[in-house]
Symmetry: C2
Subunit: 209 residues, 2 copies
DNA sequence: GTTGTTACTGACTGGTTAGTCATAATGGCA
DNA sequence: TGCCATTATGACTAACCAGTCAGTAACAAC
């Protein structure tokens, strides 16, 4: 909240501004959606004026792009770390990855961000493109490689790795939509960890040799 | 296209209007999204003036609601028919349902409609609510019952039916998002029928006893 | 204190569009 | 032919909000 940056007190905090603005934007986008969030709101929550926001971000869209880069990119990096550090049979790794995704879905703003990208990608194709490059085209090959490893080691039967990778994350997308779209309008909550665990169980039984 | 209704020729066709307007709205919503579609556009494509549209529909939202009722309701009715007509082991029925959903995803506007509901449900909660009532709360129990039947007959092991029903349709949601969000911005096309077939294969192996 | 620079703001503009309303055309019917 | 209910429209308004800009405040350096 208070100034931790290089410059001294008062209201001049150029170093801290961008992350403060992004934090405000993320909260508001998650609460109200992208279109319904006014730049005045973002500015107010970040503690400056609307014109001030434009000193740090070119566009409303630039806020969304920065958030996609920050959040999604971080998640993918973690997933990649988990995958690359792992030795031995891949089945438990699949379960671990799905459990990791479940906690991300439950405890972070990641689901809301994905929902917003989905909702806005027609109006802002560059945001969709960024998500495609940053998340999809990073994540899918990662999971695809995982399936390939399992097939190569004889753990899995010879399924199509590209399709299997999508089948692995498809249910997590449903969880994301469920949480961000249907729970807010009165659908009963989904136990995401249990759901991911059952998914891992069924999926692994389904592809093992 | 031409007048099939009770009144004679000219431009007065009150019987045919609503479906003409809905057809125009569906096309435009699918092409440009809900928010980006102007009521003037809908009116123009339906062949009347904007004010004319308001003689038949209260709201822009009313168009969307009518479309959800029409398309989604019809699909659910067909799925229910397939399920209830089926006798014998449920495994092939699961495969049939998934193949049916795949053709719907490939050949109808259903995916676009779902995407729009997802995108707009925060701004128009009543649309989300309608979808929840018309599709989710009709479809999920249907699939859940299917899983129960399989468990009761000894075909499937004792998985949680509520979770399994969601796991059954989760991958189809991914296919929908893939087609409506990522393919338009350059992602390679997904072979939905093959994807659904592999899903049926893996899923059924995963839950059989 | 004066000057230069950086950070910041209030007030404004321009474009957009859902929804309305007074008015007009249409066609069945007496 | 003229009447009336129904069907239709052009023109308008009221609200909304992203993005701009001329000007102001704060600070650093000397």
């Amino acid at each position: 909240m208070t100034n931790q940056s290089v410059t001294t007190g008062g209201s001049r905090r150029p170093q801290a501004r961008p992350s403060e603005i992004l934090a405000a934007a993320l909260e508001l986008f998650a609460e109200k959606g992208f279109s319904a969030t006014r730049m005045d709101d973002v500015a107010a929550r970040a503690g400056l004026s609307k014109a001030g926001v434009y000193l740090y971000f070119k566009d409303k869209t630039a806020l969304l792009k920065a958030l996609v880069n920050e959040l999604a990119g971080a998640n993918i990096a973690v997933a990649r770390g988990i995958v690359e550090a792992h030795q031995g049979p891949v089945s438990p790794l699949v379960a671990t990855i799905l459990a990791f995704l479940a906690t991300q879905v439950r405890h972070t703003r990641f689901p809301e961000l994905i929902k917003i990208v989905i909702a806005e990608s027609r109006a802002h194709p560059d945001v969709g493109q960024l998500y495609l490059d940053t998340v999809i085209n990073q994540g899918l090959p990662l999971f695809e490689g995982l399936i390939r490893r399992g097939i190569a080691s004889g753990e899995f039967r010879a399924v199509d790795p590209a399709l299997a990778a999508r089948l692995m994350i498809g249910p997590m997308l449903l969880a994301i939509i469920w949480k961000t779209v249907f729970e807010p309008i009165g659908a009963e909550a989904l136990d995401i960890e249990a759901y991911a665990a059952q998914h891992a169980d069924i999926f692994l039984r389904g592809i093992r040799s």
